[in-house]
């Protein structure tokens, strides 16, 4: 088939650029400037989809994003896009589309059998059945319903395309480039305001492209082209084509989707498929026009039934030639369709208007062309199989049948008020136009043109220009008055007809969700009368078109049933997005491995080159262990590393721990208040272990803080809590004690820090530093710290130990981090030094009974961790008061203890719960849980730390470590949490 239904001339398609495309495997030809919908119509394709519930044949109903019927699956493979509206797809060469929700084929869909059961499948039927037996829901009913429901199928493959996020700022955002939007843009742009004009279509002009207008003696299309040319030349005006503004957010923020490459087979190299704009606008003018609404009558869903304005657009803009046409209109605007068809020499069989009186001058040219006109008449039903074949008309009590294949319907217009209500504004009913118009508007927003119920072109142009000028003037630009363009007057009368009561067949309100007038009646009968109840019970307006063509009709039907005015019944609230937006576009560029930033310590490359396996620690990558040639598994490597530290010396990268530089005259006082223990009394050149509580008395974090000068401390935090502690300190300073002379900054990234631990640590450092420092125990004892310069590099040295061995932490500016690591390894080579990772670090600290993330879980008190004595009684500190609450000081609370398996061959796992021996485990006899475990080379078995009721008092007792989710059940002995050197002698050598 090749354009059997295309006019030989006219329209805005480029006949010089033919494009080939496929629908359901068949090849067709369209032209540049077509949409998929117009190209299908031009090829005589009427049936394009099947409906949601009854699988009724459906065709093309509209020209835009309001399309309820023509849903197709666009593209294939990983680029498959189900539920795409054919009316919104710009045609490109090689386009591939398929029908959906039908089997085995679109022409012959077996699921259409559902229509036979239609008497059962009414609105809300599923709430009343499928309940017996209960177990059948998941196994039988639900799978059947799920398979039948849904529309298109997703590819199930990762999306291969990229998306971008961008932000733009402007004085005036104009949404929609029809006559009102273009006039507004011209007025604001000429005044010098920074204007952004967004248009959903690929061509500017809106209805100017679809209707026959004369503006100042030119065609509407020519006028739009000139406006576009002038706007393009204005330096402060940006035009976003193919861009839908989808949401209005607080603070003058507008979300917009730019379809950068959807009109191409695939995005060009380095181009995103789509871009989500966050537009921050001081003023916004919505000029999105109005949508025609259908009339609810029997068989109003058959392929061939179409909105009158849509048919006009297909004829005028896309040069589609429909066959035998009838028009059913209750608006003056509908008559324009007849007029335009006659102008295009397309015969129109009959015009049916339910109104008894229609302006003579509207009818005259139609009658003159030989078209039959029936006033005070309605279309009651349609006939046809896979497309429309005839209509039944009721006139003065007699039934007439007309053979037609296209029926244009005009039931009035609904202004596109969606964006005006996103911030909660309620629309207002206008009796004059029989529709809702914007009510209270968000601050800074104005509405112009048909979107405000101004349907005449002259009004659109004038009000658009006025809104543009007002917005610019408000912002301090001077707008000069321009003469209003000259256009002919128009008739715009509407007499709403919501429903043809005499219809015998199914009359659809929501075409996509198969909601009929009967369903609305049932909802009414069952008490679902509030518009939101109607929506939720019948699914009216919940389809992919969000009820753009159906909501008002449904609400009006309900208003009739309850005997109230539409205005009183109201309408449902619209919410963003105004049109459906790809999830990938909203997600933006940070996908896959780029979901979150990856932070690497300075020694990362060196670690990789030396056999490190990496682990995520928050956003950091840390070496977990270093595999040496010949080592068979991680446990072997980790055990070797831990043994090396206990016997010789190891080096561990501890740069990821948070480092906060705290300076100021009151730094000591500040620390006294945030830590439970005292820091103002700490001597310069000394460090101290500190514990911090939250305001509610539970432990927040721990770490050592060193005093480098009387007004200068450097705090360390755990890796995981670095940001949280920084936030906490800032909060305390800014909110609680702004009077303190103290300032703080995170220096985690600025300093690289290594732990050098083991009995040979001092020798290693002496090898490295030579005579630069006296590292003897007397000169540089446990908990000493110093700043110095070595080889012209500023350095800090702390004598701290997490492992329980003689140990130091040495820090340099991060630029020297990797060099220092190499130097440390060189200086320790003769001592048998080994790098060690987070696993060995964990083994060493568990052996020593030091708490870490497993224990600092936000649910433990200082006393729970055996650190209760640290709470100073001489001063106030954050968390002091609430830590005294009865439940926090309950002696029955689980408290830190060590654990060893009774059978030393058994493995422990953290997350196991402690229960007494010999009774059935249950929640009533749970006693606590394991927080950390490790295989201890020192002990020769797995060991653990855990919280158990009255732990310290129960040393030697045996309990079960019960781990049903991993099939674990190990008898363990409660012991001291310190497995190595309980006296701490090794720290002080």
């Amino acid at each position: 088939m090749t354009n059997s239904q295309r006019l030989s001339s006219g329209g805005l398609i480029d006949r010089g650029k033919p494009l080939s495309f496929r629908f359901d495997g068949k090849t067709y030809r369209g032209f540049a400037g077509d949409t998929l919908a117009s190209a299908l119509l031009a090829n005589g394709v009427k049936l394009v989809g099947r409906s949601f519930k009854y699988h009724r044949p459906r065709g093309i109903f509209t020209t835009g994003a309001e399309e309820p019927n023509a849903l197709i699956t666009l593209r294939s493979g990983a680029r498959r896009e189900p539920n795409t509206k054919a009316t919104t797809v710009e045609l490109y060469g090689g386009l591939e589309a398929t029908s959906q929700n039908c089997w085995p084929s679109l022409d012959f869909d077996l699921q259409a059998v559902n229509q036979l059961f239609a008497p059962l499948f009414v609105g809300g039927f599923y709430y009343k059945t499928f309940m017996w037996p209960a177990a059948f829901w998941e196994k039988v009913y639900e799978p059947l319903i799920r398979r039948a429901a849904g529309l298109g199928a997703a590819s199930g493959l990762p999306d291969p395309d990229r998306y971008e996020h961008a932000t733009a700022y402007c004085d005036v955002l104009i949404i929609g480039a029809g006559p009102a939007g273009l006039s507004a843009a011209l007025a604001a742009g000429r005044a010098g305001a920074r204007v952004i004009l967004c248009e959903e279509d690929f061509r500017l002009g809106g209805r100017l492209l679809a209707d026959h207008y004369q503006i100042d003696g030119e065609t509407g299309t020519q006028w739009a082209e000139q406006a576009e040319a002038e706007l393009t030349a204005l330096p402060e005006v940006r035009i976003f084509r193919r861009t839908s503004v989808f949401g209005v957010y607080d603070g003058g923020v507008y979300g917009a989707l730019e379809r950068v490459a959807d009109h191409l087979p695939q995005p060009p190299v380095h181009q995103p498929r789509q871009r989500v704009w966050q537009i921050v606008a001081r003023r916004a003018i919505t000029a999105m026009g109005a949508l025609e609404r259908p009339i609810v009558f029997g068989g109003n869903d058959r392929p061939g039934v179409m909105l009158a304005s849509a048919l006009r657009a297909y004829v005028n803009r896309f040069a589609v030639a429909p066959g035998r046409v009838a028009l059913f209109t209750t608006t003056d605007d509908g008559w324009k369709t007849a007029e335009d068809l006659i102008r295009a020499e397309i015969p129109i069989e009959i015009v049916i208007d339910p109104r008894a009186n229609v302006a003579e001058w509207l009818m005259k040219p139609i009658a003159r062309a030989g078209t039959r006109i029936l006033l005070d008449a309605v279309v009651t039903d349609t006939k046809g199989g896979r497309s429309l074949q005839a209509i039944e008309v009721l006139k003065s009590g007699s039934k007439l049948t007309f053979d037609v294949d296209t029926l244009a319907v005009s039931g009035g217009f609904n202004p596109q008020i969606g964006l005006s209500t996103h911030l909660g504004g309620r629309p207002r009913w206008s009796d004059e136009i029989g529709a809702f118009v914007p009510g209270e508007l968000p601050s800074g927003m104005a509405v112009a043109g048909a979107a405000a119920g101004q349907y005449k072109l002259a009004e659109c142009l004038a009000k658009g220009a006025a809104c543009g000028a007002v917005a610019a003037t408000d912002l301090g630009f001077s707008a000069s008055a321009q003469p209003a363009p000259r256009v002919a007057d128009e008739a715009i009368e509407v007499k709403p007809l919501w429903h043809v009561a005499q219809s015998r067949h199914k009359a659809f309100v929501d075409l996509q969700n198969d909601v009929t007038s009967k369903d609305v009646e049932i909802a009414h009968r069952e008490g679902f009368r509030a518009v939101e109840h109607l929506k939720r019970y019948t699914t009216l307006g919940m389809a992919t078109d969000q009820g753009k063509t159906s909501n008002i009709n449904g609400h009006a039907l309900m208003a009739d049933l309850v005997g109230r005015a539409v205005a009183e019944v109201g309408t449902t609230r619209t919410r963003p997005p105004h049109v459906p937006i790809a999830i990938g576009a909203l997600a933006g560029p940070h996908v896959g491995a780029h979901f979150k930033p990856t932070r690497y310590p300075a020694g990362h490359e060196w670690a990789l080159a030396n056999g490190a396996s990496m682990v995520d620690a928050g956003q950091w990558h840390r070496p977990r262990w270093f595999t040496k040639p010949g080592e068979k598994d991680w446990l072997e490597s980790v055990t070797r590393e831990a043994k090396t530290v206990r016997a010789a010396v190891g080096v561990c990268d501890v740069s990821t721990l948070g480092k906060i530089d705290i300076q100021g005259r009151d730094a000591g006082i500040f620390l006294d208040r945030v830590y439970v223990n005292m820091f103002s009394s700490l001597a310069v050149g000394k460090a101290r272990y500190g514990l911090m509580l939250r305001e509610d008395g539970f432990v927040l974090d721990d770490g050592t803080t060193a005093r480098l000068a009387s007004d200068h401390y450097v705090m360390s935090t755990t890796t995981g809590n670095a940001a949280k502690v920084m936030q906490h300190l800032e909060f305390c300073h800014q909110v609680h004690w702004p009077e303190l002379d103290v300032a703080m900054v995170s220096v985690t990234e600025q300093w690289t820090q290594y732990a050098v631990a083991g009995p040979k640590a001092r020798v290693l450092l002496q090898n490295l530093l030579g005579d630069a420092l006296d590292l003897s125990n007397e000169a540089f004892p446990y908990m000493a710290c110093v700043e110095f310069t070595w080889a012209n590099v500023p350095m800090r040295l702390f004598r701290l130990s997490f492992s329980g061995e003689l140990a130091y932490e040495i820090a340099v500016p991060a630029d020297y981090g990797e060099a220092l690591l190499r130097e440390l390894m060189r200086a320790g080579a003769s001592l048998g030094v080994a790098p060690y990772g987070t696993e060995a670090l964990g083994v060493l600290r568990i052996e020593k009974g030091h708490v870490s993330v497993g224990e600092l879980n936000g649910q433990t008190t200082a006393a729970d961790l055996g650190l209760g004595r640290m709470l100073s009684t001489k001063k106030d500190f954050i968390g002091r008061v609430l830590a005294r609450r009865p439940a926090l000081t309950d002696p029955e609370r689980p408290t830190l203890a060590g654990f060893k398996p009774v059978d030393s061959a058994q493995r422990l796992r953290s997350g196991a719960h402690f229960v007494p021996l010999g009774i059935t485990p249950s929640v009533e006899n749970g006693e606590g849980y394991m927080t950390s475990v490790a295989f201890s080379p020192h002990v020769g078995s797995w060991i653990g730390l855990g919280l158990i009721k009255r732990g310290p008092a129960r040393i030697g007792e045996r309990v079960r470590a019960y781990d049903p989710v991993r099939g674990g059940d190990v008898e363990v002995e409660i012991c001291s949490p310190v497995f190595v050197d309980p006296e701490g002698a090794r720290l002080h050598v």
């Binding site: 059945t129 209960a134 199928a153 199930g156 999830i583």
Partner: protein
């Protein structure tokens, strides 16, 4: 009218003209024994159980708008009892049990779908925390399974196993968890309560309390004064505002939480999945839409709407674990108001005013709690003593320090 395939068929033959209202849209009387403020899931469930379990039917539910217009009509429909603290497990498991028998109990198909809830983990630490939680569930007699990476992969091959910033290591699965058709819960309870004589009064906004000698005596409403001996507040999203009318200040901050639904699709996601390295949870409705959500917007608000950065953040989380959803379209989003407590757990308790009872502070978790919250609140109101499963949800627990902080976040409501 009892609902069944037979009543459906019978009515189909009669052109569906025989259906009657699902619940009576009652005019308020001047006095009742008990008033429930709030015609949401919890309020309607409370009325239902008052009538059914305690035989108390001189009861009215007062709803300022249409029933089900609050959070029961704007959530992600997930039900589960996979908590860690015994007090929470006990309560939510009671709720789970009620869900399991709900449809037969109130003769309304709320589409309780026990399709499984899977929480993904991405690190050893998270695995162990999930093990602790799963073990706590098992100790309480609740089903829980800890899956490894390969088990998750077999179950959900479409997740991002190859290119993830935080690779999936496994998951904690509660097979009995799942989803429920949220609106139907409100309607089913309303119908059950109404059939037993409870008045469901819509478009009736409470404007103030009548308190006499320290005892509550009634309410002032937009439809006049209504007397009552006992009054229960169940107004999630407005708890602080309604309680303030009685002079009560609650340990609650109200935050907005957005949720989203995609266009309808053929079956794609079999169960409920939550991301462990970002805030994202998703399931697919029986109608085909992907229903998903994430984090709070972060600021306090009573506006039922959110902002764009969180929409983007949620979608980013979704793409991180299932990059197949990139070309699927987000159809609609909405915002619900979460009454966030200081420890993330709810309150079902008496108030300092005699005869005034409070059901509040459900944070994210109110929907799945609906049956048990109604059951326990009804028990408290009817008998003046807490039902054992909810006995920990006391107002004074903050003063005692007996907080129920699942996540260990402390008294920062927006982090729970």
């Amino acid at each position: 009218m009892r609902y069944s395939i037979f009543s459906l068929a019978r009515n189909a033959l009669g052109g569906h003209k025989g259906w009657t209202p699902t619940w009576r849209d009652a005019e308020p009387k001047q006095a009742y024994d008990i008033l429930i403020i709030g015609g949401g899931g919890h309020g309607l469930a409370t009325a239902y159980y008052l009538a059914k379990e305690h035989g108390l039917t001189n009861v009215a539910v007062l709803e300022k708008s249409w029933i089900g217009s609050g959070n029961v009509g704007r959530n992600t429909t997930i039900v589960r009892s996979n908590y860690m603290l015994p007090e929470n497990i006990r309560f939510y498991e009671w709720s789970m049990k009620l869900w399991e028998g709900l449809e037969q109990d109130f003769n309304y198909n709320a589409m309780v779908s026990q399709r499984g809830v899977l929480n993904l983990y991405h690190s050893d630490g998270q695995r162990d925390a999930f093990a602790r939680r799963g073990n706590a569930m098992r100790l309480s007699g609740v089903d829980a399974e800890l899956l490894d990476r390969e088990q998750v992969r077999r179950m959900l091959p479409f997740l991002n196993f190859d290119d993830a910033r935080f690779p999936i290591q496994g998951g904690l699965l509660q097979r009995r968890g799942g989803t429920v058709r949220h609106d139907a819960v409100a309607w089913g309870y309303a119908r059950g309560a109404s059939d037993r004589g409870v008045d469901i009064v819509q478009n009736c906004e409470v404007k103030g309390f009548v308190v006499e000698n320290g005892r509550v005596a009634g309410v002032e409403t937009s439809r006049g004064k209504i007397h009552a001996k006992k009054i229960g507040i169940a107004v999630a999203g407005n708890s602080s505002r309604v309680a303030a009318m009685a002079g009560l200040r609650l340990p609650i901050e109200s935050h907005v939480l957005q949720a989203f639904v995609s266009e309808g699709l053929k079956p794609l996601i079999p169960n409920v999945i939550t991301f462990g390295a970002g805030h994202f949870y998703i399931s697919q409705s029986d109608k085909g839409g992907l229903v998903f959500g994430g984090d709070l917007d972060g600021y306090k608000s009573y506006a039922q709407r959110g902002n764009l950065p969180v929409v983007q953040d949620v979608c980013e989380g979704g793409m991180a674990i299932m990059p197949m959803i990139g070309r699927l379209r987000l159809l609609r989003g909405w915002g619900g108001i979460m009454d966030m407590t200081m420890d993330g757990s709810p309150i079902i308790d008496k108030t300092p005013i005699e005869g005034l009872y409070l059901n509040a502070g459900w944070c994210y978790g109110g929907f799945k709690a609906t049956p048990a919250a109604g059951w326990c609140f009804a028990h408290l109101i009817a008998r003046d003593e807490p039902f054992p499963a909810a006995s920990a949800f006391r107002l004074d627990r903050f003063a005692r320090g007996a907080i129920l902080d699942e996540k260990g976040q402390g008294a920062q409501p927006n982090l729970h």
